[in-house]
Symmetry: C2
Subunit: 267 residues, 2 copies
């Protein structure tokens, strides 16, 4: 959960940038005409990312955008990168490779500024890799579109803006239920949250609500009675009994403390 | 469940035909050198199907194979097609389109012979479409690799060799958890069983066990506290709270009466 600070908007990738822009509109409304830092650092080839967001946010009336890109970790150690965050009302992490975000900005003045903006009530949004990196431990690699082999999962320390959860994205589109269950099996203390494309969760305090066209899957392992995750052979297919699963869609809400969904009000 | 009759071997498609042939070997062992009817009726273009199985089963020492194919439903109404089943120890339904099986042989002498072989203790196996058609109500069409829209599901009456369940196949490979949950949401009386490729369940009485390289997903909706499946808009994404989910892998077993998994014995 997020104990203090501003809202997190965690997006499963490929959010609508041309139509109604439901999710980006939510980000823009939270930034309230202030300055938004668009961190394209997840990408190995960032060309085009910033322009696409400048256009989309511009159409939503948000013009104060600055780009944070980092070619080498060394650049984040000086004052220039951190200075970009002065006066920022929000930060938006774009997609790419979540390990590139954590390895380039982890434990640097840039990361400190991200936390400061957040603690002072600013919105921190992230899509795709930018969603994964929000959690304490993040999924880096694992099987998609096949059932989970117990040895086939790679995790790494994330930014930890939200705790006790693990986030996966492009969820239904890439058939990732198996790998998220594998991650939860490793330690059911973490709640698995799988977010579809063009879908977001907006986390405020210990609650979030769902926004967008797809679904959000919650994998709760607290009542699991059996799993073979600690078995010797990495080739073994995951076995896991008594998982509690919720599928949430737009306007559904979820209480992270009680691990309990709250249904959408009927239209 | 299967109240009486021989075992059902229900396969998620693409079972190994060249290597160890774990699943086909199980079928061959159950047929015990007797006659196996290979029903290629699910396919619109059956050429090659029978040859592939003749080769694979031949390598397993099973040579008494006959093919059942039906170009038109009228062919199944005469005595010739039914005569193929005389003396059969087993039936194997190959892949294709499950609606082609049910529409061509449903309520014909061929279907009666399938039931007779089964009731007399013969094995009935089916892969892919041949797996789906085993249940009372079968999934025909629904979204893969996206979350389930409540209007986007087509079901049809199947052969009903196993009751109170709905079977889906190519499960992890085609990202079908969403559509199976949608089917279960429609009536949680049915238990959802999603079977991966090269994976099978062997049903005997009210129990089954898992065989093969992938996983089997059990979607139990009996404790669901909320779903929006009966809402007006077919475009709405499925929302479903408190699903009980089990992932089973090789040697895991499941009790269909108690809706309860039984873990594999440790190696």
């Amino acid at each position: 959960m997020v104990e203090e600070g501003g809202p997190l908007i965690i997006i499963g990738g490929r959010e609508d940038k041309d139509g109604e822009k439901l999710i980006l509109r939510e980000v823009a409304e939270r930034v309230k005409g202030g300055k938004l830092v668009v961190a394209t650092v997840a990408s190995h080839q960032p060309e085009g990312y910033f322009d696409a967001y400048r256009k989309a946010f511009g159409e939503l009336g948000l013009d104060r955008l600055v780009e944070l890109y980092v070619h080498e970790r060394g650049e984040t150690l000086g004052a220039d990168a951190a200075a970009l965050f002065e006066d920022a009302s929000g930060i938006f992490f774009t997609g790419g490779d979540q390990l590139r975000i954590s390895s380039q900005i982890g434990d640097t003045p840039v990361e400190k500024m991200v936390r400061r903006v957040h603690l002072e009530g600013g919105v921190v949004a992230g899509t795709s890799a930018g969603a994964s990196v929000m959690s304490e431990t993040m999924l880096v690699k694992g099987s998609s579109q096949e059932s989970h082999r117990i040895g086939d999962l790679h995790m790494a320390p994330g930014l930890g803006l939200i705790r006790d959860v693990i986030i996966d994205q492009h969820f239904a589109e890439r058939g990732r239920i198996g790998r998220l269950m594998g991650a939860v099996a490793q330690n059911p203390r973490v709640l698995g949250i799988g977010i579809d494309e063009d879908t977001a969760i907006i986390v405020e305090g210990h609650r979030f609500r769902v926004l967008g066209s797809g679904a959000v899957y919650i994998v709760d392992g607290s009542r699991v009675t059996h799993s073979n995750i600690a078995e010797a052979s990495p080739e073994r297919t995951l076995s896991m009994h008594d998982v509690r699963l919720h599928v949430l869609s737009q306007d559904d809400a979820f209480d992270l403390n009680r691990r309990c969904p709250v249904a959408a009000r009927p239209d």
